[in-house]
């Protein structure tokens, strides 16, 4: 398997090969390997403790793997970089719990996320240009929040915070978006809207969605990877994966 995966590395957007990490003897990831192609929308499922969040921590530089390779765009070694560097390379991450800047307005949240120079002095002397203004307006339309631009993020509903956070990731202009349980705690209508939003986003960039909600994944209609005990259990279409006896035993059956 490693050999076939090795050949895909130069053309892949994200490439993980044999990644393992353990915490106090517990093996959170166990030789995990998979590849995301440019422009792909991928769903990742798996039981609690399967290593989904740890995988995101490794890709975004929060955790260093004990062994294995992680490459972005075929040649950038992500295991050597920290969170800020990886974010500026073009990998955005949405947390499980919606995390926005509560004491800032919706507009300011997006302005802060905008893909501009992030040093102390560039931000100190930053002035909002017409181009940046237009970009923020555009994102407000995409996430359907134009009318709430001047509201504090603290006053948004749970679902709106999730969308604002997705909007912030868009402002970051990433090539790869990692989205952790975007519809947890959402109403059915909000879930359906979110699926449309993510498909819209995936037209221009790659998106990896970790989710428990099988209905939502079916709505996305994309290739699914099922993780269990820190490794890939099955990969393929939702029907293929959900009929796999190993997946049923480990995850769906429970």
């Amino acid at each position: 398997m490693n050999q076939t995966i090795g050949q895909t590395r130069p053309t892949s957007l994200l490439y993980l090969d044999g990644v393992s990490v353990s915490f106090d003897g517990f093996k959170a990831l166990n030789a995990l390997s998979f590849v995301i192609e440019p422009g792909e929308l991928r769903a990742i499922i798996g039981p609690n403790g399967a290593g989904k969040t740890t995988m995101m921590d490794i890709i975004t530089g929060k955790t260093r793997p004990d062994e294995g390779q992680v490459f972005f765009k075929g040649e950038i070694d992500l295991t050597k970089k920290d969170e800020a560097e990886i974010a500026s390379l073009g990998i955005g991450r949405k947390f499980q719990k919606p995390t926005v800047f509560e004491s800032h307005t919706v507009w300011d949240n997006l302005e802060l996320a905008l893909n501009r120079k992030r040093g102390v002095f560039p931000t100190l002397f930053y002035r909002l240009t017409a181009e940046d203004r237009a970009r923020i307006e555009e994102i407000l339309v995409t996430i359907r929040m134009s009318s709430r631009r001047d509201d504090l993020a603290a006053n948004l509903s749970h679902g709106q915070k999730q969308w604002l956070e997705i909007g912030m990731l868009l402002a970051q202009e990433p090539e790869l978006l990692l989205v952790d349980e975007p519809v947890a705690g959402m109403t059915d209508a909000e879930t359906a809207e979110t699926a449309i939003l993510l498909k819209e986003i995936a037209r221009t960039r790659s998106v990896v969605v970790v989710e428990h909600d099988m209905g939502f994944i079916r709505e996305l209609g994309v290739k699914v990877t099922c993780l269990a005990e820190g490794a890939v259990l099955a990969e393929g279409s939702i029907d293929f994966v959900s009929s796999d006896p190993k997946v049923i035993e480990n995850y769906l059956g429970r």
């Binding site: 975004t60 969170e83 800020a84 974010a87 500026s88 955005g92 991450r93 947390f95 995390t99 926005v100 800047f101 509560e102 004491s103 800032h104 300011d108 302005e111 802060l112 996320a113 992030r118 040093g119 102390v120 931000t123 100190l124 002397f125 930053y126 002035r127 912030m168 970051q172």
Partner: protein
């Protein structure tokens, strides 16, 4: 670029505060110097110096608020930067004494002669020049904050752990400055100052000028802080306070963001200390006392952290209260201070200024809602008059 950066700092409350400070800087010296002592509006010199001291405390509280109120870094060691600035100024004032000391040594301060030192330690050189001392007033605290912050923020020391190591820092400096062989006058510190820039430090005119300098410096630092807080950098500071890892995953180098604010804040604290020392006439290791730094936190909390005017109001209120209280019931002051902190935390979490600001905003919103509900003909009237 710089002008647009500074212009942004002016909103109404900052403008009013700056106007009041500049007004005080002119009015108080005038009332002190130009009126006869029996005139009803005469401000006695001891009050000028007392309020001058409050203004330096206000500057220290403003400096703390920049890191605590806006970036969530609860420094419990800010009095150390204040004291270092004070020592730099004290060294200049010691060198100005010259041969007028008790031992009449033209080069060595009295305490060095007493310790039988034969020559000036290397780090005392240059402090006979005011510009050099003034530079050290900002550079020494700034450098300490930079080095300390570099290691602390890079290792992601946060929250209560950071507060504890800042306490340890100021305590370590307290112990160090107590030692005679450190070369800063040990237990007694630096005192018996004679003049500053050639003017007698006891003279009414000099005291009034020091008051004016404190007020103007506070106004200047207020403008600078406001410009920082209102820039995009200021928004990043608040973002770090509210959701540090979100900020990091957006691609900001949180450690650099914190380090800049911490260093600027320490420099402001140093300036405050330098203005404090000539007005109280002494600097000794007691200024490094861990309790002092905690008091600064209380001033800031009482006034309202996260507002720029709050810490200024808080420092003046609490210290004014302290001056009155310690004269009337000296043994109860610490209980009153502790009680005040508990009460403010429980009932005025935004402090005096923050609560007042929220009240005003609510009233404005109510009035706006009422205006919106008014019948059309009434609302249209002012337009017709035009």
């Amino acid at each position: 670029m710089i002008t647009s950066f500074l212009m942004r700092s002016f909103d109404r409350s900052i403008l009013i505060a700056v106007a009041i400070l500049v007004g005080l800087a002119m009015l108080v010296p005038a009332l002190n110097l130009l009126t006869a002592p029996d005139h009803p509006l005469h401000v006695p010199t001891y009050l000028v110096s007392l309020f001058g001291k409050y203004l330096t405390y206000a500057l220290l509280a403003l400096a703390l608020d920049l890191v605590w109120g806006f970036c969530g870094i609860l420094s419990l060691g800010h009095a150390a930067f204040f004291a270092l600035g004070g020592y730099a100024m004290g060294m200049y004032l010691m060198r100005q004494i010259g041969a007028r000391g008790s031992y009449g040594n033209p080069l060595l301060p009295d305490f060095m002669v007493f310790l039988n030192w034969k020559e000036l330690p290397w780090f005392w050189h240059g402090f006979d020049m005011f510009w050099f001392a003034a530079l050290m007033v900002v550079l020494v605290p700034g450098l300490l904050a930079f080095v300390f912050g570099w290691f602390a923020f890079r290792s992601r020391v946060n929250g209560v752990y950071l507060s504890i190591i800042t306490q340890a820092m100021t305590y370590a400096l307290l112990l160090a400055f107590f030692r005679n062989d450190m070369g800063f006058g040990g237990n007694n510190g630096l005192t018996d100052f004679k003049d500053i820039l050639g003017f007698n430090i006891q003279a009414d005119g000099t005291r009034a000028a020091l008051f004016a300098a404190s007020a103007l410096m506070l106004a200047l630092c207020l403008i600078l802080s406001s410009a920082i807080v209102r820039s995009k950098y200021g928004k990043v500071l608040v973002a770090v306070r509210d959701a540090e890892s979100r900020t990091r995953f957006l691609g900001y180098r949180v450690e650099h963001i914190k380090l800049f604010a911490f260093t600027v804040s320490a420099m402001m604290a140093g300036i405050a200390g330098a203005l404090y020392v000539p007005q109280v006439g002494i600097i000794n290791p007691g200024e490094f006392e861990p309790g002092n730094s905690i008091e600064v936190v209380i001033w800031t909390a009482v006034g309202g952290r996260g507002t720029l005017i709050g810490p200024i109001v808080g420092a003046i209120l609490v210290n004014g209260g302290k001056s009155i209280f310690t004269a009337a019931f000296p043994e109860f002051w610490l209980f009153a201070l502790g009680g005040l902190f508990v009460l403010v935390t429980l009932f005025l979490p935004k402090g005096v200024v923050g609560t007042a600001g929220a009240y005003l905003a609510r009233r404005r919103a109510q009035r706006k809602a009422q205006a919106d509900q008014m019948p059309d003909n009434l609302a249209a009237e002012p337009m017709a008059a035009e």
